[in-house]
Amino acid sequence: MLKTKSGSFYFVILGHHDNPAFEVEFLPAGKAEPKDDYHHLNQFIAHAALDLVDENLWLSNNIYLKIVDKFNEWFVSAFVTVSHLRFIMLYDIRQEDGIKNFFTDVYDLYIKFAVNPFYEPNSPLQSSAFDRKVRFLGKKHLLS
């Protein structure tokens, strides 16, 4: 069902209704998009991890929850903001620090976009600038 893709990442920001507000995938440079259509599986795994995120939330004082779930070769880490927005990262090669820094930087970035009065909370983040910046952060923290 799953093909191993070393060094691949799938990042999603989840709104309060378990809805994806923003999704992005990071694939290692030079790696072509895999032919298999596995994208929906990323969504399934990330979504399923939410139950464990909720559970882990009460066990930890940190907003960064290390590995909350695992499915086949995928690890799932999470970051829960103060407003209970959830950042979920799927990855197949452990890279704790990079992910933690990525989460923190995306959080900063998100706050800047969320204060925009025209942004309705929980709605999909469609700003291309946000997308660009998140991709940049991904390159910086995850793929380097």
């Binding site: 209704h17 809805n19 994806p20 929906h40 979504h47 991890a49 939410l50 139950d51």
Partner: protein, 1318 residues
């Protein structure tokens, strides 16, 4: 795990029951077969004891066994085969589906409300079958045969012999090396002798005697006489006898299949076994076993004896003893590293520990974990591992340890069995949802995984069910890829299960969701959808068209147009632009059209707009007023523009696209038909429907389709929607370039697959916001744009313009022709045209006796009516007169509404009329859009449609030509040529402001005409030498004309609207300025000038006498002189010379004030600062200005220009001077003439210093209205020189006014006199 029928305390003992073999004689077998049962089946309903069984354990303690159950089965000498078991399990699962209409539980967790069935009977059936079909193995004895029933029939010839045969047979099976299967618990298997007796056939006496014989031989304990009845009941159908076998039969039929399959292979297998009856193969397998799971014990090994003891205890529910035995055995096995044995002991030790009454020790879950791990990883025995997991998970569930149970279940999913994985994943999902805080998302995910596995295992219904259950969690959250995946699977599975409606709706969902899928994926989805859909529609080919999901229709953007398609141009003819779907909606212009229509309707209805009036709307859109049913005319097409959008990344091809409608015909009399027929598409004699054969919408494209209906009958039409075949195009998905092609091509694209369906057009009306109720709630008004009422025939006008220019010079006059054609079958009348710019065009005045010439005949002629004159008459005016009423400009008339002078006022069907139309380029340069609204009525009055309209927008680009500036001032001379009356001078400055780009070489001023009620031009006072009045680019010319009053006779006898025209000609042709078109444009410009707000004056007059006086004073400054400058422009265009004509108007109101031909651009004041206080009431200046007063009395001095005086003879020179005072106003004026020098400035002193007036220095006079008075004065000079006599100061006031406005009458020009000495 889901809820089960059996509790775990029931489940485990039932799963491990003492096994009894049954060995029947052929005759006994035959006897049971009469009832369609095997012997084992026959016993099945009676295999559980309802009474307690008492037993003494090794410690001689009494032990009670409850609900003891035994399993009787016919001896099978081959171990069950893996494939067969797999098949059996598959059949069991697929045969067990949730009951129809099962009420699902509603579980609420967080935001989620889920409908979940709490039970999973297919899992229980699977588990039961799985546990029953476990093959017996050597490391455990639980399902080894504990006893054997030997069955013979009373009908046999030698029953006792048969029993001993059977006994031998059993012995042979157990102890002969040919049979490694079945397994037997103990070497001396307990035997039980059963004599079967058929009550309906056999001799009971004999049976009894045989039974006695048996008891004697085998002992009473082990014998039994079983009486059965094989008689077929005659009353079977109507007697309701409970059938204890029925519940087992279904399952058994499955098992029988299995057995019969086995039977096939048995002979084959035993044959091969005989040929290779060496011991190599089993040895090898023993070795393998040893390698993988350690030691292999011989059957009589003491470790195994303990295990056997444990199993026996377990089977008789003595769990305490069983646990201790298992525990002991486990230790031994572990010591010997006999892993398989150890795992078995661990498993059963854990189960026994759990089942121990009173629970002396906690359930050792780690035993189970070790066992599972060993089975799976060391022994590679998934069947045992699975059994272990099933038991452990059930135990954990009973202890509410759902999380652990789920982990256990998930861990056992593997690639080797999809069915097992599917079932375990589903149970894991149920574990998640049954947790104290339900893990909904985990549940959903595992349901998806289970569904995936079910589908791989070929369990389509279960797969579908899992996906549907999971869908509840993912739905509508924005997980579009996941949702698509689920929908796709649901669609596929539904399709293969022939649940076509579900399949369609699932695929539909994928397509209408804002998809993130790739183009290829979408193409695949679309094809799949179309394929499924096609199957659905083939099932019911005559059913109503189903709704199609694609393409999207923006219903509110639907536009409806009533009328024919219009050709914009036909040769030289240019059709009126009217209304078309190609025009964008513009609120400003639609408001203008509305006003124009209101204006003309008001004129038609004597100034009042009827309350029933609604502006005619030919094109309905989301901005138009759609609250009423629109009116369409029979035989005139209705075009509906539908806005499609293709959300997919693949193109969509619609074929045979047409509108879907419903029609209620009406009688010609207007009465409803008694039977209201509702007709739908396919009645071309009522309503014709246009079909677009192909309509392609490219990927992610928005495109409109225009669909026509042709109503042939009156009635009520309801346009319901569109109907079409939806398909995609074959071949490559990238369709670059094809988008450029129009959609309507026949056979352009090869259609891969298409389905026919419909989409409804439902338009929501505007949100209502009028009443309080509407404001506080959300209500929407109706939108009836798609429900036209087809009314009776109406006339239909077409208007064509011939030679209609697009470019004009400002003020240029051009003659064009308009053709009015009635293209309907009804005569039309009352034709009018209304425009906000009536000064732009004219059809000629009523006096014009011009017969409409054909356009070609007048091509090179002047637009004006001209008369050749001789050159001698130059400089003197030729006069004529005309009344403005003749030109449509009268009191109270609306100059904007112009009746079209149709020859007979009626235009008959098919008839057309060409009328000349003169145009005058607007005075402002630039692009002008001029709206014409043609109004017409039917001769026969129609109740529903009173009138019809036709719109035309002309676009004219004007370029600068001439600027004319004129002033009028009082002439100093008091008489006209005839020596009487008033006269004035008009100065006309003409500047050629044309930029050479327009190709104008030069302008010739050919004629200057005046038009006034009271004044006329008399002659030209030629100031410049430019006699031929040519103006090259940027040149300026000045003209001066003398103006006199018209003859009183003329003014008195004629009506007040009579204007006198006076023409001064510079060429050799007189343009009759009082005729069309010159006079038309003059009057039109006059009326538009008069419309401009300039009524400050009239507002004041009513209230105060002071202001009354002012007005009087002002009035005498008023003139009503209008100057018309007629010109020709010589234009070189394509090396050909053209002569253009034109006219400019200057309207002079006030003496001394400059007036312009072109509209003065008013400097728009900067935004005024906001005032936060109320400005004080500034008293309106009621005082007349100096300038106005100075015009009250006109003065002139009459004296000799040079005066020779012999100063040496007489030192004083006396010169008589006449001061003429002329009252310009109609009122009496008191005049004071003061001759005293008023030396105001030293400069003035220098000039005036040296002469003096003699005699009376001040005169007080009264002048009657328009009176001229001469005053004889004497000036006295002492030196020669040049003197200015203009020193008398004149003061004037109106006689009847108390208030005196005194001011000096300043002579603008010095009155110079030369005094010479002789």
């Amino acid at each position: 795990m889901a809820q089960c029928v059996q509790s775990v305390q029931e489940l485990i003992p039932d799963s491990f029951v003492p096994c009894v073999a049954a060995l029947c004689s052929d005759e006994a077998e035959r006897l049971t077969r009469l009832n369609h049962l095997s012997f084992a089946e026959l016993l099945k309903p009676f295999s559980r004891l309802t009474s307690e069984v008492h037993m003494r354990d090794p410690n001689n303690q009494l032990h009670i066994i409850k609900n003891l159950k035994i399993a009787v089965s016919n001896i099978i000498t081959q171990p069950p085969q893996h494939g067969a078991i797999r098949k059996l399990l598959n059949d069991v699962v697929s045969g067990c589906q949730p009951a129809e209409g099962l009420v699902a539980n509603v579980i609420t967790a967080g935001d989620y409300d889920l409908n979940i069935s709490a039970t999973t009977p297919w899992f229980e059936s699977y588990r039961e079958t799985f546990l029953q079909s476990m093959p017996a193995s050597d490391h455990e004895f639980l399902n080894h045969y504990l006893a054997c029933m030997l069955v013979a029939s009373s009908g046999e010839a030698e029953p006792m012999e048969q029993f001993s045969k059977l006994s031998q047979e059993q012995h042979r099976i157990q102890h002969n090396n040919d049979y490694s299967y079945p397994k037997w618990f103990i070497p001396n298997t307990l035997k039980y002798y059963v004599l079967l007796h058929d009550m309906s056939a056999g001799d009971e006496q004999r049976a009894e005697s045989i039974y006695e014989e048996m008891k004697q031989k085998y002992g009473t304990q082990g014998c039994y006489l079983l009486k059965i009845n094989s008689r077929t009941s005659n009353r079977a159908s109507d007697e309701q006898i409970p059938d204890p076998w029925s519940q087992y039969l279904q399952k058994n039929s499955v098992q029988n299949q299995l057995i019969s399959r086995k039977g096939l292979s048995r002979s084959l297998f035993s044959a091969t076994k005989k040929w290779f009856s060496g011991s190599k193969v089993p040895e090898k397998s023993i070795n393998e076993l040893k390698n993988t799971s350690g030691l292999l014990y011989p059957p009589e090994a003491p470790e195994l004896q303990i295990r056997k003891m444990a199993d026996l205890c377990f089977l008789v529910q003595h769990y305490d003893l069983a646990y201790s035995c298992y525990h002991t055995a486990k230790k031994d096995f572990l010591n010997d590293q006999a892993m398989l044995y150890a795992a078995g002991a661990l498993e059963m030790a854990a189960v026994s520990a759990f089942l121990q009454p009173g629970a002396p020790r906690p359930y050792p879950a780690h035993y189970m974990d070790t066992a599972i791990q060993t089975y799976r990883d060391v022994c590679k025995n998934m069947v045992l591992a699975e059994r272990c997991v099933l038991l452990s998970a059930e135990i954990l569930k009973s202890q509410s340890k759902y999380s652990e149970a789920a982990a256990l279940l998930i861990r056992l999913t593997s690639e080797d069995s999809d069915l097992r994985s599917a079932l375990l994943l589903e149970q894991a999902a149920h574990c998640f949802i049954n947790m104290k805080s339900p893990m909904v998302r985990k549940y959903a995910f595992h349901m998806i995984l289970a569904g995936h596995r079910f589908s791989k295992a070929g369990q389509k219904k279960h797969a579908l069910r899992c996906y549907c259950q999971a869908m509840q969690v993912y739905k509508g959250k924005g997980w579009s890829l996941a949702e698509d995946h689920i929908n796709f699977t649901i669609g596929r599975q539904s399709y293969t299960l022939r649940q076509l409606d579900n399949a369609v709706s699932a695929f539909r969902h994928i397509l209408i969701n804002e998809s993130k899928q790739s183009a290829a994926q979408q193409g695949a989805f679309l094809r799949e959808y179309l394929y499924v859909y096609k199957n659905v529609s083939q099932l019911s080919p005559d059913g109503p068209f189903p709704q199609l999901p694609l393409p999207y229709i923006n219903s509110s953007a639907t536009r409806v147009f009533f009328g024919h398609d219009r050709r914009p141009a036909d040769g030289e003819k240019q059709a009126a632009t009217h209304v078309s779907l190609d025009q964008e909606y513009d609120s400003e212009s639609s408001q203008q059209w509305r006003e124009l229509e209101e204006q003309v309707v008001a004129v038609v209805n004597k100034g009042v707009i009827p309350s029933s009036f609604h502006p005619t709307q030919y094109c309905l859109n989301s901005y138009s007023d759609n609250s009423r049913f629109p009116l369409a005319v029979v035989e005139e097409p209705i075009t509906v523009e539908v806005a499609f959008r293709n959300p997919l990344k693949v193109p969509l091809l619609l074929t045979d696209l047409s509108l879907l409608w419903k029609f209620q015909p009406k009688d010609i009399n207007g009465k409803d038909n008694e039977e209201v027929r509702e007709l739908v598409t396919g009645e071309p004699e009522m309503i014709g429907t246009e079909v677009i054969s192909e309509f392609l919408i490219n990927n992610e494209e928005s495109k409109v389709a225009r669909l026509k209906l042709f109503p042939h009958h009156i009635g009520e039409l309801h346009i319901l929607g569109v109907v079409y075949n939806l398909g995609t195009i074959q071949g490559s998905l990238t369709m670059d370039g094809i988008g450029a092609l129009p959609g309507c091509h026949t056979g352009k694209y090869s259609l891969s697959m298409s389905v026919r369906g419909r989409q409804d057009l439902e338009i929501q009306g505007p949100r209502l916001n009028n009443t309080k109720e509407e404001k506080t709630s959300i209500t929407y008004g109706p939108d009836r744009r798609l429900d036209p009422i087809i009314t009776e025939e109406m006339p239909l006008l077409e208007v064509f313009f011939i030679h209609f220019p697009t470019e004009l010079l400002c003020g240029e006059i051009r003659k064009a022709y308009v053709e009015f054609a009635n293209v309907s079958k009804c005569p039309l009348t009352g034709l009018k045209v209304v425009s906000k710019r009536p000064e732009f065009f004219t059809f000629g005045g009523n006096t014009a006796v011009l017969t409409p010439l054909s356009p070609s005949a007048s091509e090179n002629c002047s637009a004006y009516k001209t008369v050749v004159t001789d050159s001698t008459s130059v400089c003197t005016a030729l006069t004529s007169s005309a009344s403005s009423v003749d030109f449509g400009i009268g009191i109270g008339s609306q100059p904007e509404v112009i009746p079209v002078p149709l020859p007979d006022t009626v235009l008959l069907p098919g008839a057309s009329v060409q009328l000349p139309m003169w145009l005058r380029g607007p005075d402002e340069e630039g692009v002008h859009e001029i709206n014409f609204l043609f109004y017409y009525e039917s001769v026969k009055k129609q109740p529903k449609i009173r009138h019809r309209i036709l719109r035309h927008t002309a676009v004219i680009c004007t370029s600068r030509s001439l600027n004319v500036k004129a002033t009028v001032c009082r002439s100093n001379s008091l008489e006209d040529e005839e020596g009487k009356g008033d006269n004035m001078l008009v100065f006309v400055d003409v500047e050629n402001t044309n930029t050479s780009e327009a190709g104008v070489k030069e302008f010739h001023i050919v004629q200057v005409s005046s038009s006034s009620k009271h004044w006329k031009l008399q002659k030209s006072v030629n100031l410049s030498e430019n006699k031929d009045a040519k103006l090259a680019s940027r040149e300026k010319g000045k003209f001066c004309f003398k103006v006199i009053r018209c003859n009183e006779r003329e003014g008195a006898t004629q009506s007040s609207e009579k204007y006198t025209f006076a023409d001064i000609i510079f060429g050799n042709e007189q343009i009759i300025s009082s005729a069309s078109p010159c006079a038309d444009f003059f009057y039109r410009s006059l009326s538009s000038e008069l419309k401009k707000p300039q009524t400050q004056l009239s507002m004041h007059t009513e209230k105060h006498s002071v202001e009354d006086a002012v007005s009087l004073i002002q009035k005498c400054n008023k003139v009503d002189l209008n100057i018309v400058i007629l010109w020709k422009a010589y234009v070189v265009e394509d090396s050909k010379q053209l002569i253009l004509e034109g006219q400019h108007h200057v309207i002079l109101h006030t003496i001394g004030k400059e007036a312009f031909s072109y509209p003065q651009k008013q400097e728009q004041p900067e935004m005024e600062p906001l005032k936060f206080f109320r400005p004080e009431n500034t008293t309106a200046t009621s005082r007349p200005s100096l300038e106005q007063l100075s015009n009250l009395i006109k003065t002139s001095l009459h004296y000799p220009e040079t005066f020779n005086h012999p100063f040496h003879q007489k030192s004083l020179c006396l010169v008589p001077v006449t001061l003429l005072l002329s009252n310009c106003s109609k009122a009496d004026v008191d005049v004071i003439v003061d001759l005293r020098h008023k030396t105001t400035s030293p400069e003035a002193l220098e000039i005036h210093g040296s002469f003096t007036w003699l005699g009376q220095t001040q005169y007080k006079l009264q002048l009657k209205g328009q009176e001229i008075l001469s005053l004889q004065l004497k000036a006295c000079f002492v030196h020669t020189g040049v003197y200015n006599l203009g020193t008398p100061r004149v003061f004037a006031k109106l006689s009847d006014q108390v208030t005196v406005f005194e001011t000096s009458q300043q002579n603008s020009m010095p009155a110079l006199i030369i005094i010479n000495n002789v």
